[in-house]
């Protein structure tokens, strides 16, 4: 029972930040048809900036709990500045090109951005533990869980709901949905596609950075840590269905639970269980579990 509860909490915690990151990735793919490897760099930048800011705020005398304000700030700065700059200079010139070539281009971008992190933030790991120390812990399933992880679950739930509402309840969201469904039709309907692309890319970047910023206080923020998350969130969106928001949620939950189960019960399979599931999903449902509907022209 305790074990089950622990797997649940661990899995949810893990799933929640993966969901935030994957949400950005999947929305960008859905709308722009770009599988953005550089998303991992947004994540890393978000984490670095957040860890850096938390350190700065802390020395300025902000309370440990108060330093959490660094999380949204870092996410917004990275998304709005770095995301826009990259969309304007590079991504914009990739629209409509061969999908695989785009992946490679964003891979190149990812490598560049990773090294720029080293130049800006140095090679030392950053620790931004203040928020996790400040949040009261909870006894769940016989063990002590930190409050921060639970807050992360709540936040990702809120973000999921907000994005659902934005896409389904606002005019803007309907435009985006129309483009996901059929971008040619969207052009014909007079939607300003380049602007939607730009906005979606920046929003996706903010989400990627937010995932990184939120996880930063719970890990050592060290060079190269954006690498793993990008492959993992690929797995999440491929499992869920490229471009699908409920897919990202299901994918993240599946990956999170699998990993928590593996670590706690079957450590030997921890590293590949996710990819084995991803391969299985691709084999039996190439479009993923929740592929968004495609316009069918007959």
């Amino acid at each position: 029972m305790n074990l089950l509860l622990t797997i649940l909490v661990e899995g949810l915690g893990y799933a929640s930040y993966l969901f935030i990151v994957s949400l950005g990735l999947t929305v960008i793919f859905g709308v722009l048809k770009i599988l953005n490897v550089a998303h991992g760099a947004f994540y890393a930048w978000g984490a670095y900036l957040c860890a850096f800011l938390i350190g700065e705020f802390s020395t300025m005398g902000v309370s440990d709990l108060g330093t959490m304000v660094a999380i949204p700030i870092a996410a917004l700065i990275v998304g709005l500045i770095l995301g826009s700059a990259i969309e304007r200079t590079i991504i914009k010139n990739l629209y409509g090109r061969d999908e695989v070539l785009i992946v490679l281009a964003t891979f190149g971008l990812f490598l560049v951005l990773e090294d720029v992190i080293l130049l800006v933030f140095g090679v030392d790991p950053y620790f931004a533990y203040q928020p996790t120390y400040a949040m009261p812990g909870v006894q769940i399933g016989g063990i002590h869980q930190d409050g921060y992880k639970l807050s992360m679950i709540v936040v990702s739930l809120v973000i999921g709901l907000i994005s659902w509402a934005v896409l389904n309840r606002t005019h803007w969201g309907k435009l985006v949905t129309a483009i996901i469904y059929d971008s040619e039709l969207a052009v014909a309907m007079g939607i300003n596609v380049p602007r939607v692309f730009y906005t979606v890319f920046v929003a996706g970047a903010v989400l990627g950075a937010l995932g990184g910023a939120y996880i930063a206080p719970t890990i050592s923020v060290a060079p190269g840590f954006g690498v793993e998350v990008i492959v993992l969130s690929f797995a999440v969106v491929v499992i869920g269905g490229l471009g699908s928001i409920p897919g990202a949620a299901i994918g993240a939950l599946l990956v999170g639970m699998l990993r928590a189960y593996a670590v706690l019960q079957w450590p030997e399979i921890e590293l590949f269980v996710v990819y084995a599931v991803m391969a299985a999903v691709l084999i039996f449902r190439p479009e993923g579990l929740f592929a968004p509907a495609k316009a069918r022209k007959i």
Partner: protein
């Protein structure tokens, strides 16, 4: 410089190339490469202090300013030119880079390496390229147990000492411990450490039970939430970990709010580096090792060499020297002594073979302890080992340790010619504690 002539022949795709060494002449300079983690999670806690320790001692050697009896200039009179190279990027990359160091950049000796992975991977290559290589920190016993080595020396004890001493310390200080588990990285270092600890516990505390869910996360994983949950769920009272680098610090930061350090006794065999870096965030009551008598565990050792080392280091880098600083400095010092001794014996600048001959089986007074190259035909050093318990020193606002206990080298390292696993399994015959 070596003069290389290559005689080649292609017939049935056979070719031969011979290298003829130039005769030994007095040299102005010795060029050495010092690999250490200069980027990545291991850089801050290990690579940087290691580099600093080596740099400081090399500068002092070149200036002839080491305390007596090591106050002669250079290696056998030759100025030491040093190049620091990054150890990160994986074992295979290290092998490729090592070849470049020897073949392309023509260094005379390599002193360094932190990761056990690097050393295990490099051992055969060193032998192939026949260049003096002094392993400074890496801990896996496999380096010398997997084959005979001519060109490799290691100037500190290997992992066995840390874990045998750890088990002794538990037995001495916490004889009531009933069960134990562990979290170690899944590569040579972590696996060897756990194996040695587990075997030692079976010998020294046969009544304590071992957990069946021992954690082996990937090195540099950086994220241990699930592992911490697994440890918390485990009934074992004691947690053993040989985490080092940024992983150790990340683990401490993540485990503290989860109450792990309050719930369980934790023994960190390489915890010494974290004590200085984490300061007040280092939980009290953690059992701490430093892979030997280095860093925080010898802060109070009042020998001339140790006091010089701590003072010079603090003045130059603004922090106290941690384990890796001592250990790299010790490797450099050992190499200097070997060069000087060989020069004295040869009556001129020594050849590499002469340096190696004088290196073998050497015993010397290092900065914090006595080092004896007693194992593996005089290639593997043994030193005493030490553990203590963390206690924040509120008066000086400094980290401190209490209940420090030293264990002699012959107590924690196997005798020459005996494989460490065999030695522990047989009940550590011949151990002098």
């Amino acid at each position: 410089m070596t003069n290389r002539t290559m005689i080649g022949a292609i017939g049935v795709s056979v070719a031969a190339a011979l290298a003829a060494a130039a005769p030994a002449l007095a040299k102005d300079a010795v060029s050495i490469a010092v690999p250490a983690f200069l980027s990545g999670p291991a850089a801050g806690p290990f690579g940087v202090p290691a580099r600093n320790g080596a740099e400081m001692v090399i500068d002092a050697i070149n200036a002839g300013k080491l305390p007596a009896p090591y106050d002669s200039k250079g290696f056998a009179g030759a100025t030491v030119n040093v190049e620091f190279v990054d150890e990160s990027g994986g074992n295979t990359k290290q092998v490729a880079e090592y070849r470049n160091l020897i073949q392309k950049r023509n260094v005379d000796a390599v002193i360094g390496y932190i990761s056990s992975g690097s050393c295990a991977a490099l051992a055969p290559v060193v032998e192939e390229l026949k260049t003096l290589t002094v392993f400074a920190v890496c801990g896996t016993p496999r380096v010398f147990e997997d084959g005979e080595r001519q060109y490799i020396f290691r100037t500190m004890s290997h992992a066995t000492a840390d874990n045998v001493a750890a088990a002794h310390y538990i037995k001495d200080m916490f004889p009531a411990v009933k069960s134990y588990t562990g979290i170690n990285q899944n590569y040579a270092w972590g696996q060897d450490s756990w194996r040695d600890f587990e075997l030692s516990m079976k010998v020294l505390m046969p009544d304590a039970a071992q957990s069946d869910k021992v954690q082996f996360p990937k090195i540099f994983a950086g994220q241990y939430g699930s592992e911490i949950s697994a440890l918390s769920l485990d009934a074992a009272e004691l947690v053993h970990s040989s985490f080092w680098d940024g992983d150790l610090e990340g683990f401490i930061f993540q485990a503290t709010p989860r109450g792990l350090f309050k719930q369980k006794k934790v023994i960190l065999t390489v915890g010494g580096t974290a004590a200085y870096r984490l300061g007040k965030k280092m939980p009290d009551g953690v059992i701490l090792g430093a892979r030997g008598p280095y860093g925080i565990l010898v802060r109070d050792r009042k020998t001339a060499l140790n006091e010089w080392f701590i003072k010079t280091y603090f003045d130059r880098y603004g922090t106290y020297p941690s384990g890796p600083a001592y250990q790299y400095a010790q490797a450099v010092l050992a190499t200097k002594i070997a060069y000087d001794k060989a020069a004295a014996a040869a009556g001129g600048f020594p050849t590499q073979d002469q340096v190696i001959a004088s290196f073998k089986g050497m015993e010397f007074e290092s900065f914090s302890t006595t080092v004896k190259l007693a194992l593996a035909g005089g290639h593997q050093a043994i030193t005493e080992n030490v553990y203590g318990i963390t206690k924040w020193n509120a008066d000086d606002a400094e980290p401190g340790v209490t209940d420090v206990k030293f264990y002699p080298a012959e107590c924690v390292m196997p005798p020459d010619g005996v494989n460490s696993v065999d030695w522990i399994t047989k009940g550590m015959p011949g151990a002098k504690c």
